[in-house]
């Protein structure tokens, strides 16, 4: 005769409401883990898109994501000729805010040379760039549609294709355009500053052939470190491997946000532990007389401990299931990416089990100290 199940059935409504409340709390914990994972995934999404082995940037910088980096546009040719390099591409990166259809549009603009390394990943809708100028491929998260025309920096760009899941470390959706367009967008002066520069005698430059980075892919039988070392011999360049670039992003660019969310998740888990412990303690307090009666009529400790521990586990596991289901169903409505990994959910499930066992310790301690004589008298 399972006393825990009988007691749960007897107070089913109250038990389910408690489990629902706990589920909401565990749902928040799980969503925080998902946001944490999403932050890292977003941070790495852009840097992983070119599927490069080597990043070449301005000397003395850790660009182009952690710091600004400007190198000459012809750097690509120099890098492409290094031994072991199979292909290379020039890239520019720029954050941009535009007003489109009366709404603010924050974008991460990537300029690249179509046909070379660094373009958009799989096109989800439409096509890639073909005409070369004033076209762009945008991520679905921009809310733009194929064929839509957008004013950016004084020029009109037509959306010809859409990608999925391409965002910057700040969560802004990515758009790709031809390198020349992006250089104009990034480096061309507006008319008034241009007139002032002309008055100062600065030669008119238009948009210089400046880029932010060169990415290169290395042949499988060649050494990435050797290519990095070779690129570093040019005094105006710095080079790093893909792993080093990813480390810079996760350890520098999003580190504080990671720590913030990680700490908050820890606090939430601690709060959850305390709440679970209090719920189980209160549930045990409510049964003091029943526990005293059980002891008096001869119930062994194992039976009483089982009643409390089984209820604690049931509460935790039902709460966890409610929380997980809730977050899975709403995660796509979050403004930033929420990445729920099965291993994270399994780990949280295990933590909940451990927390329930630890938290039930308080209730078990109380139950084992109940004097059977409590059952006698009024």
């Amino acid at each position: 005769m399972n006393l825990a199940i009988r007691d749960i059935r007897h107070h089913l409504g109250r038990f389910l409401l408690t489990a629902l409340g706990l589920g909401l709390l565990l749902g928040v914990v799980l969503s925080m883990i998902g946001i944490y994972r999403g932050l890292v995934a977003d941070a790495l999404a852009l840097v992983r898109m070119p599927a490069a082995d080597v990043w070449v940037v301005e000397t003395g910088t850790r660009g182009p994501f952690a710091e600004g980096s400007r190198i000459p546009g012809d750097t690509r040719e120099s890098i492409a000729r290094l031994a072991g390099v199979t292909e290379a591409g020039s890239l520019t990166f720029q954050s941009l805010e535009a007003i489109h259809r009366d709404r603010k549009l924050r974008l991460q603009v990537v300029g690249w040379e179509p046909g070379r390394l660094g373009g958009p990943p799989a096109i989800a809708e439409g096509r890639g760039l073909a005409r070369g100028r004033f076209e762009m491929v945008a991520d679905l998260k921009t809310g733009l549609a194929v064929g839509e025309r957008v004013w950016l920096g004084g020029d009109v760009f037509t959306v010809v294709g859409l990608t999925r899941g391409a965002v910057s470390s700040g969560g802004d959706p990515v758009v790709w355009m031809a390198l020349r367009d992006s250089q104009v967008l990034q480096f061309r002066l507006a008319p008034a500053p241009a007139r002032r520069e002309a008055a100062r005698g600065t030669p008119p430059s238009g948009a210089p052939d400046t880029i932010n980075a060169v990415v290169a892919r290395v042949a499988p039988d060649a050494s990435v470190e050797a290519v990095v070392a070779a690129a570093k011999r040019w005094k105006h360049l710095a080079a790093m491997t893909q792993d080093e670039q990813e480390t810079i992003l996760t350890r520098s660019v999003v580190e504080k946000a990671r720590q913030q969310i990680g700490l908050f998740t820890t606090v939430l888990l601690t709060v959850s532990t305390v709440i679970i412990a209090l719920i189980i303690y209160t549930m045990t307090m409510d049964k003091i007389r029943e526990i005293a009666t059980l002891k008096l009529i001869g119930a062994p400790d194992g039976r009483i401990v089982g009643l409390i521990v089984q209820q604690a586990l049931a509460l935790g596991l039902i709460g966890f299931s409610v929380g997980a289901s809730l977050i899975v169903s709403v995660k796509d409505h979050f403004p930033r990416r929420v990445v729920l990994l099965p291993e994270d959910a399994a780990a949280l499930g295990m933590i909940v089990v451990v927390v329930c066992l630890v938290a039930s310790g308080l209730g078990v301690r109380l139950a084992l100290r109940v004097d059977p004589a409590t059952a006698l008298g009024g």
Binding site: L3, R6, H10, E290, P300, G377
Partner: protein
């Protein structure tokens, strides 16, 4: 009734209980000698603080005596120390409890409340339920076996509590104010049931009570005052 015909089920020799030491010492029971035989239904009377409940707790192996010897059903259970390491199994085996407020578990139905005692003793579920049904029928509450305790009347709940106390065939039944919450007629019925049980199952029933309307149902009434038995009367024998 088999009073005096066989060995005592409850034998107390100089049983004592005190709380605290030195100036704060309170002697709750002082050197109680008592023999109770199968079939006897006895009452414990006395004002509050006289030691009735302490005596019930001592015989129920809930509280540790401070001195004396206690034998239950022929087994010496206390002789300066507990001679059984597991008192709960001792209670499960030898003693049935009936409470003033029934203390039925609210999350079990009537039959399960009775079967629980057997379940804890290791009986198979079917056998435990069969015994529960048999007892509930015997106590004339078989028709309520699937009801929850909250839906029972006071008399029905007390019958179920008696059934639970009898489930494991104990030979010592301890009842704490079993009729306090019942009217005169129902109190009489409960006492008749306890007498029937004591007689048919050769058990001893010890009842703590203040309820004057049931005094004539006891074989003996022991009055306690300041931790001692100060008088013994036998209402059914006219004394």
């Amino acid at each position: 009734m088999v009073v005096g015909a066989s060995a005592p089920l409850v034998e107390l020799r100089g049983l004592a209980k005190h709380y605290g030491e030195g100036e704060t010492r309170v002697d709750a029971l002082k050197a109680i000698d008592l023999d109770l035989r199968p079939g006897e239904v006895v009452g414990l009377l006395g004002p509050s603080g006289s030691g009735k409940t302490t005596l019930l707790n001592l015989v129920g192996c809930i509280v540790e005596p401070s001195g004396g010897i206690m034998r239950l059903d022929g087994e010496t259970v206390w002789d300066g120390r507990w001679l059984r390491p597991d008192l709960r199994s001792l209670r499960l085996e030898k003693i049935g409890f009936i409470f003033q407020f029934h203390n039925l578990l609210p999350f079990l139905d009537v039959a399960e409340n009775v079967a629980l005692v057997l379940d804890m003793a290791g009986a198979p579920r079917a056998a435990a339920l069969a015994r529960a049904h048999e007892l509930l029928d015997y106590l004339e509450v078989g028709h309520r076996k699937t009801a929850k305790p909250s839906s029972l009347s006071g008399g029905e709940a007390q019958r179920v509590a008696i059934a639970r106390a009898l489930a494991n065939h104990p030979r010592i039944i301890l009842a704490d104010e079993p009729t306090a919450a019942l009217d005169g007629e129902r109190a009489g019925i409960v006492m008749d049931l306890l007498r029937k049980v004591a007689s048919e199952q050769a058990a001893t029933v010890i009842v703590v009570t203040h309820d004057e309307k049931i005094w004539d149902r006891f074989d003996s009434i022991f009055t306690l005052r300041d931790g001692r038995i100060v008088s013994t009367v036998s209402p059914r024998a006219g004394g």
